[in-house]
């Protein structure tokens, strides 16, 4: 959990790293603390995994990866961990989650596959299916991106 000071820092960091020579000094001035404290705190949040990574988020459609397929897999409970690990090991799989099934919705593993074209995604799904033995999967291609934003924390 985060204390109040850490929440203050999160509010500043989520505005984006300032494009100036000493960006942490800029943030430190706004928070009324020292530059060293901000740098140390960011490192601390990174080591605690609260900051997942410190770098750039790139809009992938603009760098040539157009197709985004969510593939849902009906994996029996006892195989989820094993199969999830195999699926995650594919470099084309950017996300792999286990989610609950629902009535009429038997799917328990979700992978997001990015490819340059739809057929790339299809062939990767096929490869994953044959290496895990999981069939009966569905590929849901995105046909429109309606919203994509970074979460803004602690504003309510």
């Amino acid at each position: 959990m985060l204390n109040e000071q850490e929440k203050e820092l999160v509010r500043e960091l989520q505005k984006g790293l300032p494009l100036v020579g000493r960006p942490f000094l800029n943030i430190a001035d706004r928070l009324g603390v020292s530059e060293e404290e901000v740098v140390a705190k960011v490192k601390d949040l990174l080591s605690r995994g609260i900051i997942r990574r410190f770098g750039a988020v790139v809009k992938h459609q603009d760098v040539g990866y157009v197709a985004n397929a969510m593939v849902v897999w009906p994996v029996p409970g006892e195989r989820i961990t094993e199969v999830g690990r195999v699926m995650a090991s594919f470099s084309e799989v950017t996300h792999c989650y286990n989610r609950p099934s629902a009535p009429g919705w038997p799917f328990t593993l979700y992978t997001v596959i990015h490819g340059k074209e739809e057929r790339d995604c299809r062939s990767i799904a096929e490869k994953i299916s044959s290496s895990t033995g999981i069939t009966g999967y569905r590929i849901l291609f995105s046909t429109a991106e309606l919203k994509k934003s970074s979460m803004e924390y602690f504003l309510d």
Partner: protein
């Protein structure tokens, strides 16, 4: 990528994997790419303005920040898509929303500060859209989350 040169591509590949957490991170990048710090700052500003870089700096792990999240799927009649999307997208906690080629055609993620607030948001979405066929599928296990696109 025609409007970007090789230095931009190299820069994107480096900053995607990480920026050094030091007092002068752009100077560190400048040394690596053999250009000036001013040029790095100018190029990053340009890539941000062009929308190639969506965000620079900290990417948070919402769970470890203490937030609760879920993925929702909704069956939206085709003629109501833009109206329903406007309602859903108006929630701050909805960060991603995609149309997909399935009966469950609208897929969006919701984040909230607590389990109660998350349930409340989903309830509000049900009420405000009047759509009852909604699946809420919170992640139980995360096997992979990491996006790094090789830019060539």
């Amino acid at each position: 990528m025609t409007m970007f040169d090789q230095t931009d591509r190299d820069l994107l590949n480096i900053v995607q994997s990480g920026l050094p957490v030091v007092a002068d991170p752009y100077r560190a990048l400048a040394e690596e790419l053999h250009v000036t710090e001013e040029e790095i700052i100018r190029r990053l500003g340009h890539l941000k303005e062009a929308g190639i870089i969506r965000r620079l700096g900290a990417v948070f792990d919402s769970r470890r920040v203490g937030y609760k999240g879920t993925l929702c799927a909704l069956k939206v009649p085709p003629e109501r898509i833009s109206e329903v999307a406007a309602v859903i997208n108006s929630f701050r906690g909805v960060t991603h929303n995609y149309l997909r080629d399935h009966e469950f055609n609208m897929w969006f993620t919701v984040l909230a500060e607590s389990r109660d607030k998350l349930d409340q948001t989903i309830e509000n979405i049900r009420e405000q859209t009047g759509i009852k066929e909604l699946l809420s599928l919170p992640a139980e296990k995360v096997f992979k989350i990491g996006v790094h696109f090789q830019i060539t």
